[in-house]
């Protein structure tokens, strides 16, 4: 009993975002009464999965004290790679998928190396690399299309038992994150973000922290890309470019600060669900197309302001 009380106290800052999440889910159920039917529920899970993966990826970088501006472009680039290089043979295909995920991780780790080695502001570096990734995506797959193996897509967004597969994949990666957070890797990343100078002077390898954070972020981005392209059954060089800002909103809603060293997975997942469901609800409220840009901007500003007020009140 005491343990539960303690954990509630430790996570008390997450209560508001969970209330907001429940309100959003309730709104969605109201607008879409078939919410709990297995097919609808699976579809909503599949819709939310990319948001959750991108929110987690953005959190990795924001914990470092930066912000990844090229996340959306990296996700688009990964969908292009998947759609271009997937094959019919299921076994070979699995290896290809793992290879591409690791490749994207390594590419992002290179960005992390540049940030860590030269001690550069993450924002400017990722802004530059975002254009590089956009270009690479357009070179691999100039127009939306390509081939997605249906077995792989079924494993990712189909059903495993009674639960939607996408839910299970999110849970798996959340579990890996929690294990890592408790290991020395997580400690290194959080310490680097909290105070670069004191982390460096207490003998931590700051460069390694940057590279690792970007590597993990890249792998999560590739997972988001995999979810997106198994849903559309094709690759698209611009599909996720506008989702960068959503990932930032999700992380900020989840209580991640811009100064770094802070951020809880449970909060970010709730934030991602809010952002993802919001898109769904806006669709049912007939606020679509051109207005979404406007709404996205306003919500980002509001979430940062609320976050600041909450931190200031402490």
């Amino acid at each position: 009993m005491n343990k539960i009380k303690k954990s509630i106290k430790a996570n008390s800052e997450l209560i508001p975002i969970y209330i907001v999440m429940l309100i959003m889910v309730a709104l969605n159920i109201w607008k879409q009464p078939t919410f709990f039917k297995p097919a609808t529920f699976a579809r909503i899970c599949n819709q939310l999965a990319p948001y959750i993966f991108m929110g987690m990826a953005q959190m990795c970088i924001m914990v470092l004290g930066g912000m990844d501006f090229g996340l959306g472009a990296l996700v688009s680039f990964s969908t292009c790679l998947f759609a271009t290089y997937m094959v019919e043979n299921n076994t070979t295909n699995t290896f290809i998928i793992i290879g591409i995920i690791l490749l994207i991780g390594c590419i992002d780790a290179c960005v992390g190396y540049i940030v860590g080695r030269f001690n550069l502001p993450t924002i400017v570096v990722t802004l530059a690399t975002s254009f590089v990734f956009e270009g690479l995506a357009l070179l691999t797959l100039p127009t939306p299309g390509g081939f997605i193996n249906s077995f792989a897509s079924n494993m990712l967004i189909g059903k495993l038992g009674i639960l939607p597969a996408s839910l299970i994949w999110c849970a798996v990666f959340a579990g890996i994150w929690i294990l890592m957070r408790k290991s020395s890797i997580g400690l290194l990343i959080y310490a680097t973000g909290n105070n670069k100078k004191s982390a460096f002077s207490s003998g931590l390898n700051v460069k390694k922290g940057c590279v690792l954070a970007f590597f993990i972020s890249g792998i999560l981005a590739a997972m988001a890309g995999l979810m997106l392209c198994s849903r559309t059954m094709s690759g698209d060089p611009t599909i996720a470019n506008d989702m960068t800002i959503n990932a930032v909103t999700a992380a900020v809603l989840g209580g991640v600060t811009f100064s770094g060293g802070e951020g809880k997975l449970a909060g970010v997942i709730a934030g991602s669900i809010v952002v993802g469901i919001l898109v769904n609800v806006l669709f049912y409220l007939n606020i679509t197309g051109f207005y979404t840009y406007f709404v996205q901007g306003i919500i980002l500003i509001l979430s940062v302001v609320v976050n600041n007020l909450r931190k200031g009140g402490k």
Binding site: F118, L127, A128, F131, L136, P142, F294
Partner: protein, 323 residues
Amino acid sequence: MEKDKSLKPSLKNLAQANSSVLALLLVAVAFFLLSHFVSSAKFSTVLHISSFLALAAMGQTIAFLLGGIDLSVASLLSASGILLCALISGSMPLVVCIIIVLVASAIIGLLNGMGIALLNIPPLVMTVAMQYILRGVTLVTTNGKPIAPKNDAISVWANKNIVFGLSGGIIVLLCCVLLITLILYKTKLGRDIYFLGSNPEIAKMSGIKTRKVTIVCYSIAAMLAGLAGVMLVGYTGTAAVRIGDSYLLPSIAAVLIGGTSPLGGKGGVIRTVIGAFILSNIISLLTVMQMQEATRQIIEGGIVLLFIIINNVEFKKKVKANK
């Protein structure tokens, strides 16, 4: 603004203090000669084409000097162009239209600055959000279609040779460079900007009105971006929602090529204008070489990365030399 060891104003000292600007100028001349050789581009044409980029990048420079960044530049460029086209369709004289556009963009900048200074929103996030808001507004008002002004007074004026073969666009650019340089080096506001950029904590403690300076800076930055949009309409004769998007990365690249530090407090607008000129030459070279849009994007991103790294290494060397 490097400090000289001896304060004697000799030609040697002056050259030493501005050595990096001189080096930049040499690079600019080299690139111009290269593109002149390849595509027989005229100096005034290249300067005119780079003037929009230079104006937007000057606004970006001011945000960089504060240690911030302005990503709303792209949408502001499009939005101001669209607003100008819509206004010219009425019966107002051109000057009034331009003034209204500039005031409107200054108001957007004011909102940016207020979000950053009063609500403590990081500059990147505030300006990105503003970019999305502006894009939404312009998309809804224009329905996503390009829009052209009813008469071509602006095009005639912007492209006409006024003096010494310089077109209206170039003269506007030169006036802005002069004005902003004067503000940065000769006024209290300018000194406050450099001080605030190099050390916000100490600047605040020594009584600088940091909030006011931030708000004014972002307003000026937005006004310059708006002016860039106006001049772009003068050159192309149309405005569209996504027209400014291709100026976002180049505007940052021009600042970094010029050597203004993304950490704040170091740099100036003249360097940025030279940087914009270099970048325009590079872009036109790539176009002449018939590069794909995708390849061009990769090269532009690569250039930005290269220049941040070079700047940073130089900066560290200077710190070491001073010790």
